[in-house]
Symmetry: C2
Subunit: 543 residues, 2 copies
């Protein structure tokens, strides 16, 4: 499995890939949070793995080797990376297995269910919510790596439906479709590493969800296996035959079973993808433009509005790095665009004529607003780097800055209040520790009735990894409390995992949680599949 060999342990992505901070970003960070006082050594060499406990015969490829167990112990949340770098991972799977068929998945579940062994499904292992983390348990734990279920199982061009094994990762899926002239159009930031089944299990949304929809809308049918039975939802364009069972698996995070194959709705591969950029004098001007555009129904594929701090950073590291920067800044100043400026990216995809028409239509719709076009260069740069951004976290840790992201969504009428209260919660979360937190925010997934808010925050690492994790946990706690108090959703596309689970009842209500529990109990009566995500209310931010 060559792919696995190249994955970086204790960091994002592939060894050899990097996205170092620019000097401008480092200067900005120093101004915001002060100079670094410590740094986090890279690598994950120091982990001591306990001897694996025996697991039953699983009927498929299995490994209890240390590198496999280490590589499947944690997801990609900031504390996961900190623990891996520090050699302070508290628990490891006793074995990793690679079923090759849905029958093998069902077989593993049946054997583990009988033997009282816990099973954690592993797609790309990119959860940032503790969604795949192994915890210290009294019973053995097997991680089920689904990467061998990655075939194109069927392709129905007439109906534009493609069925894939759930373990297929983004690039392989798109390559398979592209060779036939199609695309799924689902590009979460984790796309290079995350799997179709993982997208479904976490209700993922890609960066072009405005045009291509959330994964929720792309799934036409699916198959799943659980100790309580196997579920097959045939692809159907529309139905009124009772509640939509596939919607129950969407967002189930493994608690209701393991998704083995997914039938997705595909579209013709667009020949062209263009992103216009504009600057608005204020967040409110920008937000009004986004709302106008998304409510108009003009077929854009992306709208991404950065708040003033994020715009400042973007200008500093991107546009600001060009020689024309001074000129641009003077021109913008004349147009009334200064410190409060907000950058908007407006994307369209299709044949060149469609792209031109769509962007022209969009331009007319916000003609009366106060946006100033910056052309297509910032968008092209963003598109080029969009899957490299996560590497920045590793490079910043190297120089003593911790960064993470979190997201929510709310109706338009509540959006600005949510943004302000979450921003304040994050910014003030480390006051007790006399540390500052820098916060960036953008809207990236707008809908006619509201939008997502995506926050990126930065703080200084402490000399001790435990203290750094405690700082992170304080920020997460403050932000999640603010989100719940504002009536916004706990997550727009990262999921619940272990880390948001204590707040789920605030959003779903006790009846909602009871419903989910009853389904989990039906499908997994002995609670062996990923038992601590979604429905386990124990706080595990620091686990």
């Amino acid at each position: 499995m060559a792919g696995r060999l190249h994955r970086r342990l204790g960091g994002w992505g592939f060894t050899g890939e990097n996205f170092p901070p620019t000097p401008e970003l480092l200067a900005w960070l120093t101004r915001q949070i002060g100079p670094a006082v410590s740094c986090v050594p890279a690598g994950a060499e120091g982990s001591q793995l306990p001897r694996p406990r025996p697991v039953p015969h699983l009927g498929c490829g299995v490994s209890a080797d240390e590198p496999d167990r280490l590589a499947h112990a944690r997801g990609q949340g900031l504390p996961d990376i900190l623990r891996l770098r520090a050699g302070a991972v508290p628990a490891f799977p006793d074995a990793v297995c690679w079923p090759k068929t849905a029958d093998e998945v069902a077989g593993v579940l049946a054997r583990c269910d009988s033997a009282g062994v816990e099973v954690i499904p592993w797609g790309g292992g990119t959860s940032v919510t503790g969604g795949v983390n192994v915890l210290p348990e009294d019973r053995p734990v097997v991680v089920m790596d689904l990467s061998a279920l990655a075939a194109l199982e069927s392709f129905d061009e007439r109906s534009r439906l493609a069925t894939f094994g759930a373990g297929i990762l983004g690039p392989a899926l798109e390559a398979s479709l592209a060779s036939r002239g199609y695309t799924l159009g689902h590009f979460p930031q984790s796309w290079e590493l995350s799997s179709l089944g993982g997208w479904v299990a976490t209700r993922s949304a890609g960066q072009e969800s405005l045009g291509f929809g959330r994964i929720d809308d792309m799934v036409a049918g699916l198959e799943a296996a659980a100790p309580g039975g196997r579920l097959s939802v045939r692809p159907m364009p529309g139905s009124a035959a009772g509640p939509d069972l596939k919607r129950l698996l969407l967002g189930s995070e493994g608690r209701f079973g393991i998704i083995t194959s997914v039938t997705v709705r595909v579209r013709p591969l667009p020949s062209n993808r263009t992103i216009q950029s504009l600057l608005f004098p204020s967040w409110h001007d920008g937000m009004d433009a986004v709302r106008t555009l998304v409510q108009s129904g003009v077929p854009l594929t992306m709208l991404r509005l950065s708040d003033p701090p994020e715009t400042e950073v973007a200008m500093a590291v991107g546009l600001g790095a060009t020689r024309a920067a001074g000129l641009v800044r003077r021109y913008l100043h004349i147009r009334g665009i200064g410190d409060g400026a907000c950058l908007l990216l407006v994307g369209a995809a299709g044949d060149p004529q469609t792209v031109r028409r769509t962007l022209r239509q969009a331009g007319h719709l916000i003609d009366g607003s106060h946006g100033v076009s910056l052309g297509t260069r910032p968008g092209a740069q963003w598109l080029k780097d969009r899957f490299r951004h996560p590497y920045l976290r590793d490079a910043l840790l190297d120089v003593g800055v911790a960064t993470d992201t979190l997201e929510t969504a709310a109706p338009w009428s509540a959006l600005d209040d949510v943004r302000q209260s979450v921003r304040e919660a994050i910014a003030g979360a480390l006051e007790g520790a006399q540390e500052r937190v820098a916060v960036l925010c953008h809207i990236s997934h707008p809908y006619p009735d509201g939008a997502s808010l995506y926050f990126t925050f930065f703080f200084r690492v402490a000399t001790d990894h435990g203290e750094t994790i405690a700082r992170w946990a304080a920020i997460k706690r403050a932000a999640t409390n603010a989100i719940a108090a504002a009536g916004a959703t706990l997550s727009h596309h990262h999921g619940i995992g272990q880390w948001h689970a204590p707040w789920l009842e605030q959003e779903a209500g006790s009846t909602g949680v009871a419903i989910l529990r009853s389904v989990a109990h039906q499908l997994d009566p002995n609670t062996i599949i990923n038992p601590h995500v979604l429905l386990d209310p124990m706080t595990r931010l620091e686990a």
Copy 2:
């Protein structure tokens, strides 16, 4: 309650409204199924109601009067109408209640749960799947009429969200929105009589679902009450906070609780609505055109393709009735359009410029196909009559012809096989009784990955209402078996009700049904709400 007083008992809609068959239709029917041998007397005077059993104090308006009990005994399926006309309704509710608030709904449920009384929720009472039918029971039965929960509870123009009491009917809902410049755009054929909560509970799709979406997509949030607890799903534009609980209520048909309010996504009221019509030489030409248009993404609001028999009837009663008919027929003959012709309606809505542009775009997309434009008259006529069509059933019963409809959906690649096998099943269902069945079919809800198929069938009524119902049941059984065997969905927008429930396990699988049962048990542990729909596998076509 003035509205109730004007509802026709033992027939569709309002007293005084009619949609009589044209002589051309009657002639066509005689050719297809032979001359009528009997007729079904109108009215529902003969019913003998048993003395109502006592029900507990319900804490809201209650009636045990005969007219109220009679008016809430059955839905609007063909056998319901036959039984009402014949005075052969086997069971009646013991009481009807009208809660005015969600608290009153919850109160009724709690009292009935304690007292072992069954509760059937009643929105508009228009189910054509036995979804609200009272059956003979050992315990008392209360019908909960939700018409008093019909207020606009909130209107968030910025987010384009409106919250209504679930009992509001189509016209009141649209009037409320229209006064603010908005529309929901949900127009099922039952629209004048059916309720928002009913649309949600049955996963309804309106005639313009191509443009406005299914009710599934329109619901942003909802509230429901069940004996097991109250559920509130806050309106959210998008979320990854676990499975989408509102999707569980969509299609739950009352088994999971009673929906008390719904927040819907609304849109600006279009100033213009235009329907172009075209004739294609064959079903396959027409189907290709529909698929091309829907997969192109051109923002049409409706595509409705009639098969050759339905086209023949439409021409006979509509276009054929005009003086230009002969001329048109000769012209079409020259263009190669004869007996196999299929009528396509292509709808667009918006401001006049948008409508023109959309229809022009659509025209270009199917330029190379063999369609011949018939202009906008047939569409205008269809639009004018679209809520009057259901009255035809009553008028036909008066002259001895029974008619009903059923629908399904399937991916494009399977659609034609499904159409043929269901058509054959319906057409041949009464061979044993030496009776013929005439079948019409259309596609009315296309999606990029497939479409609905809507069948209308006609057969002669027998002298005995029981025999007529037996004929209907034979057709339903044959058609539903064919749908299930073809792997199509049991219903595209009518729901499961009592009548399709025996087939649900074939579609959802035993695991799927077990999941739904576990949710029902959680929310309604004593199985008091609408206990015979969705999950009760007993055959009740003739009940």
